[in-house]
């Protein structure tokens, strides 16, 4: 029998916004240093411009730094004692370039249960769309949080 999940369904369709966040060269280079990303287009403006970009570009996952700056409400899920970050998805649309100003808009995408060998878990999926100052979508990011009994 399917598990009847109890949570605040009125959150569907509501957008939660944050930003804009200024993406500087220093921010991109610090991000690169923390993950040992030495690619030329991510670190050297001349190389990036030569490759056809407006400036140094950010690795495609940089926008994940901003996801938790969106204030998200509690969905009041009546399930589980522990929660953890279960998964993440980044759909990159166009590169973020140093100097860009990025805005975020998040919504509740899905809540679903899955039963496996270790029991039932409930996944809460939030989706955030990031746009630059030109109105272009730079990335969609989905974060899944798992609640376990």
């Amino acid at each position: 029998m399917a598990l009847e999940l109890e949570y605040d369904r009125s959150l569907y369709g509501k957008e939660h916004e944050a930003g804009p966040f200024e993406v500087t060269e220093d921010m991109i280079i610090s991000f690169n240093q923390s993950i040992s990303q030495s690619g030329a287009c991510y670190n050297d403006r001349d190389a990036a411009v030569k490759a056809g970009y407006r400036g140094i570009i950010a690795p495609p996952t940089l926008c994940t730094l901003f996801v938790r700056r969106v204030q998200l409400p509690d969905i009041n899920l009546k399930f589980g004692k522990t929660r953890f970050h279960g998964g993440q998805r980044v759909q990159a649309k166009t590169p973020i370039v140093a100097g860009d100003s990025i805005s975020a808009s998040s919504h509740l995408k899905d809540v679903y249960a899955k039963t496996g060998r270790s029991g039932t878990m409930v996944f809460i999926v939030w989706e955030t769309t990031f746009k630059n100052q030109l109105g272009e979508v730079v990335a969609d990011v989905q974060e899944s949080y798992a609640a376990r009994e």
Partner: protein, 145 residues
């Protein structure tokens, strides 16, 4: 953008391996990442004490940072514009200061909406075979023609 050493759609076949790429998330790297992320330190990602409070065996690498390490496998291989979609599941806590082996295996190639699409299974493992992260990447490659 076409880069020096660019791999092309015609160069790849089903079953081809990508990598391995070996990375290490150092204590310093995790602290720097958390600072950029806006997650004040010490926290469960940087401190033994905070990790113990969260019932973790030790400080772990944040999922968003681990994912960024995995993305490098694809951007190193396909170029900065290649990665279209990276979808991962965090299976086990990722430790600091240990070799993290990142690999990919091509499981589909297709042309879709005018793009040359390569789909891969991606995996981050430890040297003793720990499967830390599994996932799928969708990559767009240029054509030689």
């Amino acid at each position: 953008m076409i880069n020096d050493g660019q791999i092309y759609f015609e160069d790849v076949e089903l079953g081809d391996e990508i990598g391995p790429l070996e990375k290490v998330a150092s204590d310093e790297g995790v602290i720097d990442f958390c600072t950029l992320w806006g997650n004040p330190v010490p926290n469960r990602f940087t401190s033994e004490e905070e990790a113990a409070k969260a019932n973790l065996p030790g400080p772990i690498v944040p999922g968003v940072m681990s994912m960024s390490l995995m993305a490098q496998l694809i951007t190193d291989w396909a170029g900065p514009d290649g990665l279209k979609d990276l979808d991962v599941v965090f299976r086990q806590p990722v430790p600091h200061n240990k070799p993290l082996i990142i690999t990919g295996t091509i499981n589909d190639t297709r042309q879709e909406d005018g793009e040359n699409i390569v789909q891969c299974d991606v995996l981050m493992t430890g040297t003793a075979g720990e499967r830390y992260i599994i996932g799928t990447a969708v990559v767009s490659l240029p054509s030689r023609s």
